[in-house]
Amino acid sequence: MSLLKAVIKKLGIILLTLLLVSFAVYAAFELIPGDPALSKLGTDATPEALAALRHEMGLDKPFIFRYFSWLLSCLKGDFGISLSYGRTVSSMIISRIPVTVFLTLFSTLITVVVSIPVAVLMTKYAGRFFDRFTYVVNQLVMSVPSFFAGILFTWFFGMILKLFKPGGYVSYDKDLPGFLFYILFPSIAVALPKCAMSVKLLRSSILEEADKDYVRTAYSRGNSTMQVMYRHVLKNALIPLVTFWSMSVADMIAGAIVIEQVFNIPGLGRILLSSIQNRDYPVVEAVIMLIALVVVVMNLLSDILCKKIDPRLKS
C-alpha cells in the first residue's frame, strides 16, 4: 500500500513539474518580442497578410485559450504542427532524438568508465606522484568548457590528424558506424569536465570510506587490497556518485546542445535553438518538455538506484 502511495506521489510530482514547465515556456513566448507569423513573412509583411497568417496560425486567439487547447491536444498525443516547417512536431523531433540520446549516452558511458579506474588508481597511490600529478591534470580538465574542448578537438583531431572530417556529420540512418564514430569526439568533449568532477568526487569518497571500521574487518578476514576495494569500499563510495551522474545526464543534454553547434550536428539542441529564433513555439514546447521529462525521470531513477545500493535508505 505504501509503495503504491509512493509511486502515485512520484508520478504526481512528475506531472506537476511538466505542467509548470509547459506553462512557463508558453508564457515566455508571450513575453518576449517577436511573432511567428512575422518571422515567416519577413520584411515583405503587409498588415493584411500578417493578420491572415496570424489567423491561420491561431495566434489571434487569447493566450490562455491557446495554451489550454495546446495542452488538450498534447494529452491526446498530438504535439501540433511546426509553424515554420508545416510538418508535425513529432515527425521533426523523433528523428532527432537518437542523435542527442547517443551523444548523451556516449558521454555518460565515457564518464563512468573512465572515472572509476582513474579514481581507484589515484587512491591506491594516494599522496604519491601519480596521485598528485593526476590531481593537477584533473583540475585542469575540469575547468575546460565542453565547447572549447570541442573546438580544440576539431582543430587537432580533425584538421591536423585528419581523424575525422570537421562538419562531416553523417546521419545514423544512412551510415550508423560513421555516425557513431563522428559522435565520439563531441561525446568526449562533453564528458571531459564531468569525468574530471567524478574523479575528484570519487577519490575523496573512496578515501573517506577506506578509513571506516568495516574496512579493517574486511582486511582481518583475509581479503586482499583489491578485494576490499571492489567488494566493499567502492560499492559504498559510489552512492554519492550515482546521484551526481544522474544529474549529469541532464547537464550533458544541455552540454550536447552547445556541442551540436560546434560540430554541426542536427540534434535536439539545433532544433531548439532555431525554433526559438523562429518563434516556432510548438516545437520549442515539445523539445523542452522532453528534456524536462528526462530530468525528472533521471531523478527518480537515481533515487531508486541509491536505495538499491544502500538498503539503509529504504526506510
Partner: protein, 504 residues
C-alpha cells in the same frame, strides 16, 4: 565489477565497429556529378514559391521554379516559360505565347491552364488573398488557346513584366508547400529540416541543362564553422563570406569571387524620434559619417559608396554625384547641430540585429565617428525576430543599421517605401515634394521620363537626409577550384545550373 566490465566491453565494441566502418569508406559517385554547397539558413519559411519571403529561400527556389520570364545575371528580363509576348497599344494588355515542350518536374507539360491558375493565385483573382500585392492591378486573365494567355490590367504599370518572373506551378498540385513541382533546371528531391536540401538536375529542362547532376545544400547555422568546413572539404562552396573569412581561406583550394550584395546599407534614422525630426540634425549625422572609413574597417576597404537609396548595380538610376552630398565635415556637422539647438550634443541608440556581423561592425564605427561631433550613440543588439517586430514593423526605435534590398528588381521596390503613407516606411520619412515626385514616377509610362522622376526622388532623399546612406556591401563567394562558373545576379538568386566541374 562484472557490470563495469560488460559496459567497458560494450564501449570498445561500439568504438571498434565505428572505426571499422570509417576505414571501409564509401563508394562515392564520380566527383563531377556532385557538389555540396553550404547555406547559412534553413528553408524555414516554407517552400511555396508564391509565399516564401526569406531571401535565402528565394535564391534557392530560383533553380526550381520559373516564371513566364526570367532574370539573367545582368538583371535583364528574358523569356522563359513564355517564348515571347506582345503588348497592346494602350500598354494595358499583355499576350504571352507559351514555349512548346516545357515540362514540369513531374513530367507533365506546362499548359495555358497552369499559367492562368498560377497568375490567378498570385493576383487573388481566385478569390483568395493576393499573394503578390502588385498584381491586384490585374483585371482579367484569359486563356486564348492552349498556348496563349492574355492578361488585362486595370491601369498601366511599367513594372508589370517584372512580376511575370513569379513562379508558374501546375494547377494539379494541391499542396505546393510540401510537393515542390516547378520547371527549373533543378528538381527538388528532399528537405531535411536544419540538415540539408537535395536537388537533382532535370533531364527534360527546356533550356541549357544543368552541368552538375546532384546538388546538396548543407545548412551551416554556426558561422564559425564555415571556414573549417570549407577547408575540411565537407562543402565546396559558400556565398556571402565576410572579409575575415576570406582572409582565413588564403592559400587553400578555393577561388574567391567578389561581387556586390545589392543592398542599400544605411544608418536608418527614425524621422519621428526627437532630434531626428529636425532635418539639420540628420544632415549633421550624414556629415559626421565617412563611408570610406566604415568600409576600411568592415570589409577591408571593399564595397561601394552610396549617397541615396540606390545601389550601383542599378546603373540606370544610380547617381554617383550623390555620394558627395555629405563629404565628411566635422565642423559643418557641429554648426548644423548648433543651429538646430543641439550644440551640446544628444544621445540615441542604434538598434542592430546581432546576426548580421557587417551591420554590427558598421554601427561600431559610427559610434566612434559620432563622438567627434559630440553625439553619443549606444548600440543595442537585438535578435532578428525582435528587430522585425519592434523596429521594422513597430517602428519603435531611434536608429538602426540594416541593408534594404530590391525585391522585385525595380526602382519602385526601393523607393516607394519613402512615401509618407507607405506601410513599410519604417524611417517615417515625410516630404510632400518626394510624394509628388514618386507619384509622378509611378504613373509615368515613358521610360526616360520615369527614370528622371526616380532620380529626382533619390536626390530628395539625399538632400533631406532621410537617413545616412553608407554603402553596398561586397559579397565574397568561395568556390572549390574543382568547380567554376559562378554567376552573380543583381537580385537574390543562386544559379547552380551555371556551375560546372573543371577537374581536380
Amino acid at each position: 565489477m562484472k557490470k563495469g566490465r560488460v559496459l567497458l566491453a560494450a564501449l570498445f565494441v561500439t568504438m571498434a565497429a565505428a572505426l571499422g566502418g570509417c576505414a571501409g569508406g564509401k563508394t562515392a559517385e564520380t566527383p563531377e556529378d556532385h557538389i555540396t554547397i553550404g547555406i547559412p539558413q534553413d528553408l524555414d519559411d516554407g517552400l511555396d514559391p508564391h509565399k516564401v519571403s526569406a531571401a535565402g529561400t528565394k535564391e534557392i527556389l530560383f533553380n526550381v521554379y520559373e516564371g513566364l520570364l526570367k532574370y539573367d545575371e545582368n538583371g535583364a528580363l528574358n523569356p522563359a516559360i513564355a517564348e515571347s509576348y506582345d503588348v497592346d497599344e494602350d500598354r494595358m494588355g499583355y499576350t504571352f505565347h507559351l514555349r512548346s515542350g516545357v515540362k514540369f518536374h513531374d513530367g507533365s507539360s506546362v499548359t495555358a491552364d497552369d499559367v492562368v491558375y498560377s497568375l490567378k493565385r498570385l493576383s487573388g483573382a481566385d478569390g483568395s488573398d493576393p499573394l503578390e500585392e502588385a498584381l491586384i492591378n490585374i483585371a482579367d486573365i484569359q486563356k486564348k488557346d492552349e498556348n496563349t494567355v492574355y492578361v488585362k490590367l486595370l491601369k498601366e504599370d511599367p513594372d508589370f513584366l517584372c512580376y511575370m518572373t513569379d513562379a508558374i506551378m501546375p494547377a494539379s498540385n494541391a499542396d505546393p508547400e510540401t510537393n515542390v513541382i516547378g520547371t527549373g533546371p533543378y528538381k527538388f528531391v528532399s528537405h531535411t529540416p536544419q540538415e540539408s536540401v537535395e536537388l537533382e538536375a532535370f533531364d527534360e529542362y527546356w533550356g541549357e541543362k544543368a552541368h552538375i547532376k546532384n546538388v546538396t545544400l548543407k545548412i551551416i547555422s554556426n558561422a564559425d564553422s564555415i571556414v573549417m568546413e570549407l577547408k575540411g572539404g565537407t562543402i565546396d562552396m559558400f556565398c556571402r563570406l565576410s572579409d575575415t573569412q576570406v582572409a582565413e581561406l588564403e592559400g587553400s583550394d578555393f577561388n574567391i569571387e567578389e561581387g556586390a550584395m545589392n543592398l542599400v546599407q544605411a544608418l536608418y534614422l527614425n524621422n519621428d524620434f526627437g532630434p531626428f525630426e529636425d532635418e539639420r540634425v540628420r544632415q549633421a549625422i550624414c556629415y559626421a559619417i565617412d563611408p570610406e572609413e566604415i568600409m576600411a574597417y568592415v570589409s577591408g576597404g571593399k564595397g561601394s559608396e552610396i549617397g541615396s537609396a540606390m545601389f550601383p548595380a542599378f546603373g540606370k538610376y544610380y547617381d554617383p554625384a550623390l555620394n558627395d552630398t555629405y563629404n565628411k565635415d566635422t565642423e559643418k556637422a557641429k554648426a548644423l547641430l548648433n543651429e538646430a539647438g543641439y550644440g551640446d550634443g544628444f544621445s540615441f541608440s542604434i538598434t542592430v540585429p546581432s546576426n548580421y556581423t557587417p551591420h554590427v561592425a558598421t554601427a561600431e564605427v559610427i559610434v566612434e565617428e559620432l563622438k567627434e561631433i559630440g553625439v553619443t550613440a549606444e548600440i543595442k543588439l537585438v535578435e532578428w525576430d525582435t528587430w522585425l517586430s519592434e523596429t521594422y514593423m513597430g517602428r519603435n526605435y531611434e536608429a538602426t543599421v540594416i541593408g534594404v534590398d530590391a525585391s522585385p528588381l525595380t526602382a519602385r521596390a526601393l523607393l516607394d517605401r519613402y512615401a509618407s503613407d507607405a506601410n513599410n516606411n519604417f524611417v517615417n520619412f515625410k516630404d510632400p515634394d518626394y510624394d509628388t515626385a514618386l507619384a509622378a514616377a509611378l504613373s509615368e509610362t515613358d521610360d526616360a521620363v520615369q527614370t528622371e522622376y526616380y532620380k529626382e526622388c533619390l536626390r530628395l532623399l539625399s538632400e533631406h537626409a532621410a537617413s545616412a546612406y553608407i554603402q553596398d556591401l561586397p559579397s565574397f563567394v568561395a568556390l572549390n577550384k574543382k568547380f567554376s562558373g559562378y554567376k552573380f545576379y543583381p537580385l537574390y538568386a543562386q544559379d547552380f545550373a551555371s556551375l560546372y566541374y573543371t577537374g581536380e
